[in-house]
Subunit: 332 residues, 2 copies
């Protein structure tokens, strides 16, 4: 994958003002792509105008919801690539309001694919899926052959959304693939609360001097990808025809317990404290225990490997939010 | 499972005027249950008032759609059992109108479960799922550990519907289980077209003297359950607490090629003819090849085994439609 794959290409990013979408947009405009960002700016989700303030004149921003079929039909026309990142990401919210989660993560995905089938069957789609659909790991690391057993409504709906993409690839020849992302972090992530990942609010709390709350006993293992690495994987998957009809795990060789992560974050920032607290019951009910990915498939088939180590990625993230945090702490 | 499990019990059957629902209703009223049948009577689906004409005074029939949350909320209250059989069953229709399939097979299931959570968390649910979610078998017979890989929109949405049930069992303690049905046939099945199963239209054609069309080369293997056996499995799953949170395949030890089945049907009827014809393209795209189930799990855990052999079941079915067919050939 090189700049030539995207130079002059027309690219639509759903969820384009969100965390990963806006980081992707920065790479794409540097490559010379013609970028349209579609985002609903729902306050509970990840979209923020500030995420693209520095490239505002180099992208087209459309405030529209993926649940709006007319907007979707209009925007997919003529695109070469569609990075399909819009989603409801909160596991807890998916249990409190399962209908909205279904509408965004399943029904809207189907309508995006129908729009591509009708208006732009030549587009290449990359769908941002999630490790959540594996549920509680039966073995570690979790590869793509691991049984699927989502433990929350979000996992079920994301799975349906993912499979619609593979189905449209297989039945209609609309080229599509899915990346199952693990915890992604970095500049422009949502830090107002834990809706995107708990690490967002940890970073905010460390910077603001509040205690970092670690749920359970802190021994749960996780893997993390710095956002630039996740963006690289999205671009590779878009550019490489070997991705078509495929699902790939992202992941990291650095596996860390939540307690160690909290300590690392505090050490890197130079100050802060953490507290081990019991799981809130609504989180305990859908907790998946230890999780980390086997990402050998994307490494061997698409040549992806994460490059930014956790220390470096956390440093950059802390630096970003130390400088820009006031735009992120609360709703604009 | 005995009559005592259902005698005096309040039972709601969604899709209650359909093929399996109405056969189940006959058993339930014989057991002395207080039965409410909910059905939308959508002409393309399986519901037909005639299916319960002989027990009409012994059941409560409500014409309502599972997509109507108010109707669902009203009807789930006070029930001891909920047999959740309403569904869009046509694979081809699910590709032509994926949104409707999603609304019925996924979204409405979620709203039924939400209604149970809010208004009747003590109910026991049995969900009619399908072998379709396995996709093209990777090995035969297909057991419950077989990877899930639906090949059509219907398979994806039925899977989501099934998993919502397991999720609400696991997270909220609302007792639920799912049976993955294979081809079911018998009296009261839809024979107007192939929307429920191709065998429906075969039976109609044999009785009406039209040729039976066998797609492909006729060597595809399938297993079949006579509807009384499927009903027995539903009742066992409802009555037995060992079913909670579980998924069970139904199936049959009698595996038969489609060509042999056509010949058997014609021989049993005493007259008729079949033609081997190429797959229509819209069916070829979602065909799953050979399929038959391993049903050892439900046999060992719930004691179910199919009792009606194919010859006997087909004879009874032919006899039923020879007598009652005029109520089934076309829309009432």
């Amino acid at each position: 994958m090189t700049a030539a794959d995207f130079s002059g290409a027309k690219v639509l990013v759903t969820g384009g003002l969100g965390f990963i979408g806006s980081n992707l947009a920065h790479r794409l405009v540097d490559f010379g792509a013609e970028v349209t960002l579609m985002d609903s700016l729902i306050p509970e989700y990840g979209g923020l105008q500030y995420n693209v303030h520095d490239i505002r004149t180099r992208v087209t921003v459309t405030i529209a919801d993926v649940r709006d079929p007319e907007a979707v039909a209009r925007l997919v026309k003529g695109q070469n690539y569609l990075f399909n990142l819009a989603g409801q990401t909160s596991h807890v919210d998916s249990m409190l309001d399962p209908k909205t989660d279904l509408e965004i993560n399943a029904a809207a995905q189907l309508s995006i694919l129908e729009a591509c089938r009708k208006h732009n069957p030549g587009v290449k789609l990359v769908f941002a899926s999630t490790r959540q659909l594996y549920g509680r790991p039966q073995y570690l690391p979790v590869d793509e052959k691991h049984p699927i057993r989502p433990v929350d409504v979000n996992g079920i709906n994301k799975l349906a959304g993912e499979w619609y993409h593979l189905l449209y690839n297989n039945v209609y020849g609309i080229r599509a693939c899915a990346l199952r992302l693990t915890n992604t972090y970095g500049p422009r992530m949502r830090v107002r609360d834990a809706r995107q990942t708990f690490l967002g609010i940890w970073i905010r709390n460390v910077i603001q001097g509040a205690p970092v709350l670690v749920f359970g006993d802190g021994t749960q293992l996780r893997d993390f990808n710095y956002v630039d690495d996740a963006v690289e994987a999205l671009l590779l998957a878009a550019a490489d025809p070997r991705s078509e009809g495929q699902v790939f795990n992202l992941g990291s060789a650095e596996v860390i317990s939540l307690k160690a992560l909290a300590e690392k974050l505090i050490a890197l920032h130079g100050t802060g404290r953490h507290r081990i607290v019991p799981f809130p019951p609504e989180r305990k009910a859908i907790d998946i225990g230890d999780y980390y990915s086997d990402f050998a498939k994307i490494r061997s088939e698409l040549g992806w490997t994460p490059k930014v180590m956790l220390d470096e990625g956390l440093k950059r993230t802390l630096a970003y939010f130390s400088e820009h945090g006031r735009h992120y702490w609360s709703n604009p």
